[in-house]
Symmetry: C2
Subunit: 251 residues, 2 copies
Amino acid sequence: MAAPYELIYYAGVPGRGEHVRLILEEAGAPYQDTQFLSFDEARQRVTTWLAGGGHGNPRYFAPPLLKHGDLVISQTPNILLYLGSRLGLAGEQEDDVYRVNALALTALDGLSNEVHDAHHPIAVMLPYADQREESRRRSKEWVQSRLPSHLAYWQKVLVENEERGSGPWLLGSTFTYADLVLFQCLDGTHYAFPKAMRQARDTGKYDRVFKLWEDVKARPNIAAYLASSRRQKYQDWGVYRHYDDNDVIAE
Amino acid sequence: MAAPYELIYYAGVPGRGEHVRLILEEAGAPYQDTQFLSFDEARQRVTTWLAGGGHGNPRYFAPPLLKHGDLVISQTPNILLYLGSRLGLAGEQEDDVYRVNALALTALDGLSNEVHDAHHPIAVMLPYADQREESRRRSKEWVQSRLPSHLAYWQKVLVENEERGSGPWLLGSTFTYADLVLFQCLDGTHYAFPKAMRQARDTGKYDRVFKLWEDVKARPNIAAYLASSRRQKYQDWGVYRHYDDNDVIAE
């Protein structure tokens, strides 16, 4: 399809839409982005498109949405799956698309959804202030047991590739959108939990993981994007938030 | 591939593996299932395969896993995506696979992951008893605001199809694995929150959603499966758990 890619998401924070931006930026694919609208206009656009895009597209529950011609789809990993195949970032071997999708889903589960829930453990509809104590308790537990578990998992994936003489990416020698997803997840987790991430880095146990973060950041298209005004700043709303109360280290 | 499908998951509860069983059962596809091993043997099998399946399959973080010949993949929605295309349950129109994947991801987010987190709001590594108060608070909030939000969403999808002269399934006239996923999510949520689900049903506001639950249950292959010993019972471990403390209704 020659139609433009259109990202429909809230304006003002990187959020879940950021994964979509990163894959489009890496591929150098032109796209439209509601982040350039006002906050209210972007929100209105999201609401309109959530009600379904006609042409047999069912109503969707939450943004980000991707519009491409008559197709309107939701769910971050689903949008990445669609774009990954089209943009040559979903692997090269038969069935790699499923390996890459699994890696992306795992990164989003562990280092995006779990991090989000650290500031909203009781209810996503209630403000943080109404669940501050629970949020602190959850953050302490998360930094203590889950963060090391996730980092150790990604380290093993990368080390095992290296032992097979492959790497430096998650799928081996082939860069895929799973690398972009893990980069953004690490970057956002670092914003939310800088002390714990520094502590983890200093152990030296996750050096391949932190190297991947740097390697993605240094890719020419990504570096140019991150330096541009298109890269929005993290704020204290959205998926990744920094609260001093939660910025703890493991014991 | 003529290789058999092999589901690798814990034995003893339906869990996330149940979504994989339902799609295979609906399609009448033969499969092997570690649920027939002892509890310890199944757990051992899971651990072994999580370390990667060779042949370029990276290590994975959590079960269920699907093995099909040399391919080993993780992540429930990813396994369904793979099987859905092969078994003719991912729609008929171009790009339907992405519409179906979005619907399945939305059902799993809202009526599986959120329900799981109701009994583990603070930490998945801590026992329920250590987060019982928070669990009760989260359950009350969830039943009050999120359950109606999810049911209203699914009702709208189904009503809008009907208004277009289509239905009775989520994608319209074509039955897909998204219907199976929503069925299992409703069924498990009913196990966890029977009072709230009965209350929701009695309002009459979600009649299309509860009808879909019944319609899926009545499909010949699914009915036969649910009546068989292959359908495991819910227990108070796993994704869906019933705790009296959490079995509340909306105010």
